[in-house]
């Protein structure tokens, strides 16, 4: 029965194509699971919040890397700038969380815009190096600007006001979990609309063949800078969520490790499909939480091995493997 449902493509080619990007009921599954997780694993809420905000970070990366093909290893720059902006805003202006998110989005977005204008003229290895360079510059700035950022000590003593003046952040992370989930949900809707819009489809065109995109009259560089800015702003929001829910911001938010790991998570899940971000992050972070503590060295080993296998044999990541299985089952049924 379920295979019939998977097989639902019918009608003319145009009709089938037009239906493809309609919201599928299956797309609500992650949200149901996320809500269920709250009740099933009440003692894991802080980890849950971490996962949620990391998913947001991964989705932001997917917009740039997965959809537009902007290969970056420096995305933590925006995450970190968002975290620091939200932290500083809470310390010096107000602990109101939602305006803090907006401030973080703007700050990270501006950095995305300015750096994007410069580095998106390049491609390939040059581009990767430049994204790293931007990250290093921001890192060093945060490290040196001690009076502002606290240097290696980070920003401490961040106190948040209740959300909407009602929902207090509590010690057990109940509010934080719902907060992260709500913000992620809104951003997910936004991301979904974006990638299914003509603008979003054109990004896929840029990724697939930039030369052709130029020759059909698309303002390619403007599109790239735009999505890079949006992606940066979204990463900034993810960073802000971390600052607000953990009430601390350290240099690790700008770490190279965070930059690299988020790429790994996205690749594990499957790039260029939003849900890859969700799947990849959930698998990675739960596995990390369960195994890594016991034996950190072996954790890296397994991640490395898995990555090699995925990159060599399953470019689509976990979701790509799922696709192939569904296709296989469909084939059997026929």
């Amino acid at each position: 029965m379920i295979f019939k449902w998977f097989n639902a493509e019918q009608g003319s080619a145009v009709e089938r194509f037009a239906k493809r990007d309609r919201l599928n009921p299956l797309e609500l599954l992650p949200w149901i699971l996320a809500i269920a997780a709250y009740y099933v694993f009440p003692s894991y809420l802080p980890l849950g919040s971490q996962i949620l905000l990391t998913i947001l970070f991964a989705i932001s990366l997917d917009l740039a890397l997965g959809y537009a093909g902007i290969i970056t290893l420096g995305h933590a720059a925006f995450f970190g700038v968002g975290a620091y902006s939200a932290g500083l805003y809470a310390l010096h202006v107000t602990g109101e969380p939602l305006s803090g998110l907006v401030v973080a989005a703007i700050a990270a977005g501006i950095l995305g815009l300015l750096s994007g204008l410069v580095i998106l003229r390049t491609t390939g290895l040059t581009l990767i190096m430049l994204t790293l360079a931007v990250l290093l510059i921001v890192q060093e700035f945060a490290n040196r600007a001690r009076p502002i950022t606290g240097g290696a000590d980070g920003l401490n003593g961040i106190a948040m006001l209740p959300i909407f003046g009602v929902f207090r952040f509590d010690l057990f992370g109940h509010t934080a979990y719902w907060y992260c989930l709500s913000v992620l949900f809104v951003m997910w809707i936004f991301g979904l609309l974006l990638v299914r819009s003509p603008f979003g489809r054109s990004l896929t065109g840029v990724r697939e063949n930039i030369t052709r995109m130029h020759s059909i009259g698309a303002p390619v560089r403007r599109r790239l800078v735009t999505i890079y800015t949006i992606s940066a702003a979204m990463a900034g929001v993810a960073g802000a969520l971390l600052a607000q829910t953990s009430q601390f911001v350290g240099l690790a938010t700008l770490g190279f490790e965070r930059s690299g790991e988020i790429v790994i998570m996205l690749v594990l899940g499957g790039i260029g499909r939003i849900y890859g971000a969700i799947v990849g992050v959930v698998i990675f972070m739960i596995a990390q939480d369960s195994f890594a503590r016991a034996n950190p060295a072996f954790w890296s080993f397994w991640v490395g091995l898995l990555l090699v296998l995925i990159v060599l044999f399953a470019r689509g990541g976990a979701l790509g493997i799922a696709d192939n299985l569904v296709a296989l089952l469909r084939g059997r049924k026929k």
Binding site: F17, P198, R201, I216, R223
Partner: protein
């Protein structure tokens, strides 16, 4: 006024001059062939016109307007379309979407984020109709990467046509095609509206003489001669450098 014009167009790759003071006019409605030996600079000439390459010197005009400083997209907006000698497609996307993306850009909705792209049924229908006219409607939902070379050539042409260009530059559109598909390409080109100006690069002299009402011969970046097919066929210099090796004439 010419649909397309170049004045003293030059391009050097280091010491190599690939375009040498090319004065060229493409008249409205022309069926103009550009021929010349391998490495003559034909593709380079097209790349200069479209803005993919920047000329070392010289001027390019579209419908009388100087577009030399304009971006590629600016030139496309002014009615310039092209195909590539080497397939340049969105390989991971379906055939339909290859054309659909192009139609979206033509309609100027590529910046819009307000609605689903695929909700534009009208543009999808248009894209599909174009594919059918090229006999690849059945492949609409197939991924480009998985199609045989011959069909890719037709997708390449479909994309260029989807722009509804006023000036169409075809770089060996039938290169490497079996005769059945070559026929589709040439029938399609012949059936295009008469007001489109077409510049076609083609090595097959039979096709050139069947299609073109004007021919330019390019040798080592320099225009050797330009004229009607008849004049070209009987030109002694052309026979020497170009046709001499073939059995035409």
């Amino acid at each position: 006024m010419s649909a397309l014009e170049t004045q003293l167009l030059c391009k050097n790759f280091g010491a190599l001059s690939v375009a040498n003071k090319i004065d060229f006019r493409l008249e409205p409605g022309a069926r103009h062939a550009l021929i010349g030996p391998n490495g003559a600079g034909k593709t380079t000439f097209i790349n200069l016109i479209t803005g993919r390459l920047t000329p070392s010197s010289g001027i390019i005009k579209l419908a009388g307007e100087d577009v030399t400083a304009l971006s590629q997209s600016g030139r496309v907006k002014r009615g310039l379309g092209r195909t590539f000698q080497i397939n340049t497609l969105f390989r991971g996307l379906s055939v339909l979407e290859n054309v659909f993306l192009t139609v979206c850009e033509r309609e100027g909705i590529g910046n819009s984020i307000l609605r689903r792209a695929n909700a534009r049924k009208d543009l999808l229908e248009e894209s599909y109709a174009l594919l059918e006219s090229l006999h690849i409607g059945d492949d609409a939902l197939n991924i480009v990467r998985e199609l045989p070379y011959g069909k890719l050539r037709l997708v390449e042409l479909a994309i260029a046509l989807a722009l509804k260009p006023k000036v169409l530059l075809l770089d060996e559109p039938a290169a490497g095609l079996p005769s059945s598909e070559t026929a589709i390409v040439f029938d399609t080109v012949q059936q295009l509206p008469k007001d489109i100006a077409i510049l076609i690069i083609e090595h097959d002299m039979d096709l050139v003489f069947r299609l073109a009402n004007r021919i330019t011969v390019l040798v080592q970046g320099t225009v050797l001669v330009e004229g009607t097919p008849d004049e070209i066929q009987h030109d002694a210099r052309v026979r020497e450098v170009y046709l001499g090796e073939g059995d035409h004439g």
